[in-house]
Amino acid sequence: MYDIVYYHEAESVQDAVRALTEHPEARVIAGGTDVLVQIREGRFGPCELVSIHELRDELWGVTLDEDETICIGPITWFHAVNTDPICQERIPVLCDACDTPGGPQLRVSGTVGGNLCNGITSADTASTFFAFGAELVLEGPNGRRVVPIEKWYAGPGKTVREQNEVLVQIRIPKSHYEGFTGEYIKYGKRRALEIATMGCCCLVKLADDHETIEDVRFAYGVAGPNPCRSEAAENIARGKTVAEAAPLVGEAALEDLHPRDSWRASKDFREQLIKEMTKRALVEAAAKGGSTASWK
């Protein structure tokens, strides 16, 4: 039994917005794998909930826009994104990232939108969405607004989403993914039911020789209070071959990233992880684009 004092099962997004506006303390619940665990911990005290769990018609599934923007419904399960044909064909690295949170049962309850709305740096899909420069569409009492993921986070566990706004779509424009191959590496102490000690996503676009880096993006979870990119690593890699860039990107990433000590891992260890994972993610991402470079 959960400590819930108000519960509303929304019948539409507008109905959810109305209920949230009428109950300024209410929280949105979608998959429940974060919110219910936090209620169980007693973190909120008596809790008011507005559920968007049943809004499948409005908020579920992956579609392709006319301009080939990938549109992901926020209450789509991790597993459903992982097995979606559009995602598998165009952004398989997101499928890989969606295969890492928790265990199989969690991945058919937890949602990709929840993974962004919880504002948590270790969220497994967050660094990949960050690398893709996803655009997040919010709907509130005054209509919709679009927030680029670079402006989404507002400190640990916080986002710019207002209490009475609902995330209604995650958009990845064609120019953000076309020609890129990617790799997401999650480091944890075990292979399932684990929160990332460090997460790193690399997207790379290679020139026709399959070795020269035309464009590259590095995004990280747990390297700071929020998911973030490393421009220093990206700048040093651009224009070089994968083999030239691989030994340099790790050190460069540390110019931008300042991880902290926590009970999960020390600062020193996290810096070591950043160096190593940046290099490996680049090489593995490039390998999917035809590069033969090695990180060993």
Binding site: M1, Y7, R40, S51, G102
Partner: protein, 171 residues
């Protein structure tokens, strides 16, 4: 908090049951419907002991509000046995492979295995381990559980090509 009525299908039978809106499906199945195979373990989605099939998908019921089960089809271990008491193929494989020690985690594991058997696929041992990675067992060391799931999935979905062609030759 207010009481509501849930209408859903549980183990093939239509069910109407009153529930408190604060409940998760684990509470409702275990405490109100007496389905004690649905175990209360960690209650935070880590141990898998409360796993049931919801519309055929193995789901942790500790993190699933009862309100969401409206109209859904729910299956637990209680629904697997045939009316004459014959065990389901997964249950029998768990018996045959000595996969059970204290038994607390087993109903959840069986429902995940049930989902695998119904997928029509066969699995490598690594794939089985991954499919079962949402369950914790503190007794067995998992070895015999993996054996049992391998046996059940192979029995139902495995290639019988060699045997089949052999039979043809004889015929």
């Amino acid at each position: 908090m207010e009481m509501r009525i849930l209408s859903c299908t549980v183990n093939g039978k239509p069910v109407q049951v009153g529930y408190d809106v604060r409940e998760c499906l684990l509470d409702t199945l275990h405490d109100r419907l007496g389905l004690t195979s649905v175990k209360r373990g960690c209650e935070v989605g880590e141990c898998g002991a409360c796993t049931v099939l919801i519309d055929g998908v193995a789901t942790d019921t500790c993190l699933y509000l009862t309100a969401w089960a409206e109209g859904k089809t729910i299956e637990t271990v209680e629904g697997l046995q045939a009316p004459d008491g014959t065990l389901d193929v997964v249950q029998q494989a768990f018996v045959d492979e000595f996969a059970v020690q204290c038994g607390f985690c087993i109903p959840g594991l069986i429902m995940s295995a049930e989902e695998m058997v119904r997928s029509g696929k066969t699995f490598t041992r690594d794939e089985i381990r991954k499919c079962l990675s949402g369950h914790l067992c503190r007794c067995t060391g998992y070895q015999n559980i993996v054996n049992a799931v391998e046996k059940a999935t192979n029995l139902v979905n495995g290639m019988v090509g060699e045997e089949a062609s052999g039979t043809e030759e004889v015929a």
